[in-house]
């Protein structure tokens, strides 16, 4: 187990630098004129252009310029300095401010997906073909069919403005309550998928040999379901949810915008819009770490759920 973990961690270091290189290269290639992008439609004065060009090494162009800036960036990164955004703020400050709220939002989304999705999935799986099963099938198909860009403003309008159950926007220091609606919107897609996965998995395991054996030796049905069926059914669901945690954090661009939450998605959107290379690379680097760590946690959880799985 220990050797496995060390191997995985070493792989993570490689994956991390690989992705930053790719993201940096993509941002570099897509960069038109970041100084003009920052200024919008205003003309940029000579003095200011010279000042910003100097400050952000924008005078280095071409392949040589790319490596010069990338090496410069990685060098600073290793010293713990993520650099400055083109707006002049320290990227480490921006990350420190953006991450907590995004993590909260993602956890709420994930909890919603687990509590509602997995529970409803189990019920639907146990009563396969019943009214509940068919109703959830129709509902989840509907949710999967509506993109967040439609769902988020609709939820905001009907549940925030027309029927004021929730505050319409969450703001910068939101209470858990204010994050609930965006969390549900964000989690609804994962919820639907988790529900479908759990249902299928439970339904399938109910027909397996070990369930028949358990029934035959007279175990109560509650124990069969909660200990034996669930434990085996949750493996694919855990895999899905582990990957989904990363998705929830990076995929909140739309939700964070609609509900005005200044988190990671909010900053990523702005960074891409203003061609703010250092900011985008900084945000994506942390996202990569989140993906890598959550994948590792999922793999370790397999062994907990299924003792037959061993890592060497």
């Amino acid at each position: 187990m220990f050797r496995y973990l060390v191997r995985r961690l070493l792989q993570m270091v490689l994956a991390f630098f690989g992705t930053t290189l790719i993201v940096y290269a993509l941002m570099f290639a897509g960069q038109g004129d970041p100084i003009q992008a920052l200024a919008g439609e205003r003309p940029v004065s000579e003095a200011q252009r010279a000042y910003l060009t100097e400050k952000f090494h924008l005078d280095q162009t071409g392949v040589g310029g790319f490596f010069y800036r990338y090496v410069d960036y990685v060098g600073n990164l290793l010293r713990g300095d993520l650099g400055d955004s083109l707006t002049g703020r320290k990227i480490s400050d921006m990350l420190a401010q953006a991450w907590p709220v995004t993590v909260k939002l993602a956890i709420i989304g994930l909890l919603v997906a687990i509590l509602v999705g997995v529970t409803a999935g189990i019920i639907a799986g146990l009563r396969r073909g019943g009214i509940f099963d068919n109703a959830t099938l129709a509902l989840t198909l509907l949710v999967l069919g509506i993109p967040t860009i439609v769902l988020a403003p609709l939820a905001q309008y009907f549940l925030g403005v027309k029927l004021p159950l929730f505050p319409p926007t969450a703001g910068s220091e939101p209470s858990i309550y204010a994050l609930l609606l965006p969390g549900i919107v964000l989690g609804s897609l994962s919820l639907a998928t988790a529900l479908r996965l759990t249902r299928t998995s439970v339904a399938e395991n109910l027909r397996s040999d070990y369930v028949r054996t358990a029934k035959a030796k007279g175990l109560p049905i509650r124990r069969i379901v909660s200990v034996h069926v669930l434990r085996n059914s949750l493996i694919p669901v855990i895999t899905f949810l582990g990957v989904e945690l990363g998705n929830l954090m990076s995929g909140a661009i739309i939700t964070e915008g609609v509900f005005n939450i200044p988190g990671v998605g909010f900053n990523l959107f702005r960074g891409i819009k203003t061609e703010d290379g250092p900011l985008v690379v900084g945000l994506v680097s942390v996202l990569v770490v989140v993906y890598l760590v959550s994948n590792l946690v999922v793999d370790v959880l397999y062994a907990v759920l299924d003792p037959r799985i061993r890592y060497e």
Partner: protein, 543 residues
């Protein structure tokens, strides 16, 4: 190079017409509560240093923290606020006397030095301040600039010759003189802009160096002081400054809440979570009047939308072709169906908000007349295919496509709208003289003067004359206008210059913008000025 910049272009293409501004807001019911605070929508300001702030969000915050030397009255003429008087006998040397009694929020007295230090800092090129071009009219500005010897190359630009403007002289604590490089009759008007605020001694860590962190908690001379620091991406909070000698605000403080999306702010104002939504999103315009009633309001703004003909493309060199294209566009139809009357059709080359504006200077060329347009277009041999290039991130697609459809129907030509991802991509193409067809452009003024439209947009060296229009007579008239003895004489020259534009049609005026804003049921007397800034001294909370 003449460099002038449009202020506050963040809010994209919304906003725009003359109209119902003076109607006030809210009604008079209820007493006002002087101890309440209000919340106002802004976007994340780019900077909060007066010489570096030129977006409307930054201007909004600074307008609460600072008091300008002059402000603008109903006719958009300047009147003194922090200044006792602004006078000149020859339009070259201007004497500015300050009112006694103004203090910065840290208790320091506002003196002539507060202004001189701030302006010198702003004009000094190595500081890279976004508003430095405002100081270019002042004598000695060139000595504070320096050019990179090898363009964008590795060598650094040398230090400028000087770090203070020779044109700025302190007379006594409350008086200083400004000597201009050339006579300029409307200098007093320019002084109302953000760039001309003073800075306290506390702003500087050494002479000419702004202290780290000052920008996060600026200290000003205005009716409000900072409460805490600028919380990036979240909010900026201010509270009433009790020692303020001018007109006292009617609220205890304000929260400038930062929104990235206009729709989020609109949802908040609908449910009374936000007090003032400065820009109602275009997609909500059709329902806003029903949703909000008289809490949905409009006021004049300075924006001017037009399409320009690139002069480097030969097929547009004949004025008749340009006139025919203009006559084939039904402006009223587009403002009605696409902008829901939130903008008005433009038939002049400067905005109605400036002194000297005349209706319909464009004359017959801006009248919708499809039959005559087609005849003129064919006689002049206009191109069989037209293209309108625009930036795709500004919400321009709908009206550009509608305009193209009108041109197709009325001129019998092919027409396509071509989107560039960003405005900077569009500019790059224009700079490289690629065939972009007609170019969509817009302009917001820096200060209310005809010159601020004519100079940057149509003179040969104008900072935003991307389309290369050049007419020596026009340049000369604008130049004579700026040098005229009185603002009235200046306007006469400017109007003559505008007549040249009507004859040559280098651009097609399309629409004038207006502010479309909304407020909650909690507040009244909400006024949004020409610069898209809410007047924080007038707003009241209904108790």
């Amino acid at each position: 190079m003449q460099v002038r910049r449009l202020a506050a272009w963040t809010a994209l293409p919304l906003a725009a017409t003359l109209g119902l501004a003076a109607c006030g807001s809210g009604g008079d019911s209820g007493e006002s509560d002087p101890n309440a605070t209000v919340s106002v929508q802004i976007a994340e300001p780019q900077h909060l240093i007066s010489t570096n702030t030129n977006d409307s969000s930054g201007n909004q915050v600074l307008s609460a923290l600072f008091t300008p030397l002059v402000d603008y009255d109903e006719q958009n003429k300047p009147y003194e606020v922090a200044a006792e008087s602004v006078t000149s006998t020859d339009n070259v040397t201007w004497t500015i006397k300050l009112k006694d009694g103004y203090t910065f929020h840290d208790g320091e007295k506002v003196t002539a030095d507060s202004y001189l230090n701030a302006w010198n800092y702003g004009a000094y090129a190595p500081n890279g301040q976004g508003n430095s071009y405002f100081f270019e009219k002042i004598a000695g500005y060139e000595d504070l600039q320096s050019t990179d010897p090898d363009g964008d190359g590795p060598q650094k630009a040398p230090e400028p010759k000087s770090d203070t403007l020779t044109g700025l002289k302190k007379v006594d604590d409350l008086t200083f003189t400004v000597t201009l490089a050339k006579p300029y009759a409307e200098f007093k008007t320019v002084l109302g802009y953000t760039a001309f605020y003073p800075l306290p001694a506390a702003a500087f860590s050494a002479p000419g160096v702004i202290k780290d962190g000052f920008e996060d908690a600026p200290i000003g001379n205005g009716p409000f002081k900072m409460k805490g620091t600028w919380q990036h991406d979240a909010k900026v909070e201010v509270e009433r400054y009790d020692a303020y000698p001018g007109e006292k605000p009617k609220i205890a403080g304000a929260e400038f809440r930062i929104y990235q999306q206009l729709t989020a702010a609109y949802a908040d104002v609908l449910s009374d979570n936000l007090d003032v939504d400065v820009t109602v999103p275009t997609e909500s315009l059709s329902t806003a009047a029903t949703d909000l009633g008289d809490r949905f309001q409009q006021s004049p703004a300075s924006s001017f939308q037009f399409v320009a003909f690139p002069t480097f493309q030969k097929e547009f060199s004949k004025p008749d072709v340009r006139k025919a294209v203009s006559m084939a566009i039904d402006r009223d139809e587009i403002t009605r169906s696409i902008f829901k009357e939130s903008q008005i059709s433009a038939r002049s080359f400067v905005s109605p908000v400036v002194a000297g504006y005349r209706d319909d200077t464009c004359g017959e060329s801006c009248e919708f007349n499809p039959a005559k347009a087609k005849e003129l277009y064919q006689a002049a041999g206009g191109p069989a295919e037209l293209k309108i290039t625009y930036n795709g991130d500004g919400g321009h697609k709908d009206w550009v496509d509608a305009t193209c459809n009108q041109l197709k129907a009325n001129l019998g030509v092919e027409c396509v709208g071509a989107a560039e991802p960003k405005f900077s991509d569009l500019l790059t193409k224009v700079d490289n003289k690629q065939p972009v067809g007609l170019i969509r452009l817009g302009w917001l003024m820096d200060y209310p003067s005809m010159e601020n439209y004519l100079g940057p947009l149509y003179t040969t060296n104008g900072s935003s004359n991307y389309y290369g229009y050049s007419n020596p007579d026009f340049d000369r008239l604008v130049q004579e206008g700026t040098a005229a003895a009185t603002p009235d004489e200046a306007v006469k020259k400017y109007q003559q210059a505008e007549d040249i534009l009507a004859a040559e049609m280098p651009v097609i005026p399309l629409r004038f913008g207006q502010n479309v804003y909304a407020h909650s049921t909690r507040v009244k007397n909400v006024e949004v000025d020409l610069f898209q800034v809410v007047d924080m001294t007038k707003i009241e909370v209904v108790s």
